[in-house]
Assembly symmetry: C2
Homo-oligomer: 308 residues x 2
């Protein structure tokens, strides 16, 4: 039995890709079970409810040598804590290749697409398998989530084509209305503790000799988030110390306005942000304008800055 | 223009995969040129003559940031010397994933198959492109070469199916007779210097803190190779010192007998061979029996030994 899972601090693409790929592997004769590496966010919970699906179980500690499939990630820092001891047989991902290695020749599929879901649709087509309605709903939701309904610069024509193909199978007549419902669910942060808001979509990256934490909150209601700015900055400061980070940023992305205002905790981050983006922070907020993609815009700029 | 190349000390799969993948990329709208990272061996020269093709040019030193496609390898030690400065956009390979990273999301295809050629046939099918006769000849040759005409334990059903599909397109009526011609060409080592024999199919691997060099000579005429044993062991000893290796092995694989007798240079290698394979060397030869695949049998056993 192959265990299939997406990254820590899972988003909609990570959770749905695990469910759909486990199903696809099983239908192709390789029994597989989906797991998650953290709590689904509000958007993912909404998507699962709409699809009539339960969230996958939390990944237990797998014995060394267990066969696994990674979806929507490949770096150890974003994966199961004992990844180095596991037997990575399959990877389906749309991120750059990081520190992954495999003990044996494996099945790896990486493409520079807006989301893992678009690649999973391609795998169905290659296998000659139809996409079942529930899977279509999960994949469509992941495309809309990861591309911010095609607003993100990571969006490709293949992502648009995938959404158009999947919507009728999923029974979604009005894709824009459905996307707005997803984004509203994601933005309904209620009394979520600041620590959880920071970690909802949060990844660590290595830049030169430093480890940085980069969080993103995508919301249709940035005012709510900035209303909790002091709490969030305290949570960032605590995480920075606890994890010995060189820096920590929390980007608040206004989905509808397609803008990014990023919270910073100290002068160290302010200096890096100035060097990497040419932006002067005001107070503890740096206006990064239309740089809304961590993967395609924020991380490459920081990598370029630190490799100077 | 994407530069496409296989590994150092190229074999038939490495050279033909570069030619065929460059052609496939170009036909798909991405202009690409094939290169090689060393001299074609006698078998590859025969295959190219039969296909009416020239060998690709030797890879020049590419400027930093040049876009490249790697075929039939992924590890830096087997690639262009300045790989770390190049922009890896595509990888098509059937080896385990080593130390490769990419600066951006890229297109990666890895499958646990007997050769890269079988995966390249799959890519043609996915792209809806027919395989042209010259490409079919190159791919068929690579399948036969890497699987030792289906004798190697790395052979999969997909490799057999690929060869059966490609042979009529390539105009090869008798696949076994053609394979014998290829193996005879490979075994016609004439007065090739010992240093070149050692490096003809040679790769370095990292086991724990040690770097090892593992050469293979696949031949229908092992008697010829053992007739040059003293010269070969001297070349191995020189390479071991020059490259600061922890150990060096040269496996002489009898293609038709499907057996492997491996040359060793010192007691250090003898001890490792005994620990990893349970085989006592006699003189400077260790009889590894039917372990004829470096990738699937020799390297995993050495990795297991060194990770104890």
């Amino acid at each position: 039995m192959i265990s299939v899972f997406g990254h820590l601090n899972p988003d909609t693409d990570a959770i749905t890709a695990a469910l759909v790929y486990a199903h696809l592997l099983s239908r192709s004769g390789t029994p597989a079970t989906a797991y998650r590496l953290g709590e689904p966010n509000q958007e993912t919970a909404f998507v699962l409810r709409q699809a009539g699906m339960q969230a996958p179980e939390l990944l237990p500690t797998l014995p060394a040598g267990s066969p696994v499939a990674l979806v929507d990630h490949n770096e150890a820092a974003q994966s199961a804590p004992n990844l180095a001891d596991l037997d990575v047989r399959y990877v389906v991902d749309h991120h750059k290749l990081g520190d992954l290695t495999t003990a044996q020749p494996a099945y790896l599929r990486f493409e520079p697409l807006g989301c893992t879901a678009t690649l999973l649709l391609k795998l169905h087509r290659e296998a000659g398998l139809s996409v079942e309605p529930t899977d279509a709903r999960l994949l469509l939701s992941a495309v809309l989530s990861d591309t911010l309904e095609f607003r993100s610069p990571t969006t490709t024509d293949a992502d648009r084509e995938a959404a158009a193909f999947l919507a009728p199978i999923a029974g979604v007549d009005d894709v824009t209305a459905y996307a707005m419902q997803m984004f509203a669910a994601k933005s309904d942060l209620g009394d979520t503790p600041a620590e959880r808001l920071l970690k909802m979509d949060y990844k660590e990256f290595t830049f030169g000799a430093q480890q940085w934490g980069l969080g993103v909150i995508e919301t249709t209601n940035p005012g709510y988030v900035f209303g909790r700015q002091a709490e969030l900055i305290a949570a960032m400061q605590a995480e920075k110390v606890a994890s010995g980070l060189g820096g920590i940023l929390l980007s608040v992305v206004d989905i509808l306005g397609e803008t990014n205002r990023t919270l910073i905790v100290s002068g160290a981050e302010a200096e890096v942000v100035k060097g990497a983006f040419g932006v002067e922070a005001e107070g503890q907020v740096a206006d990064l304008g239309q740089l809304i993609s961590r993967k395609k815009q924020i991380v490459p700029a920081l990598e370029a800055y630190f490799s100077k």
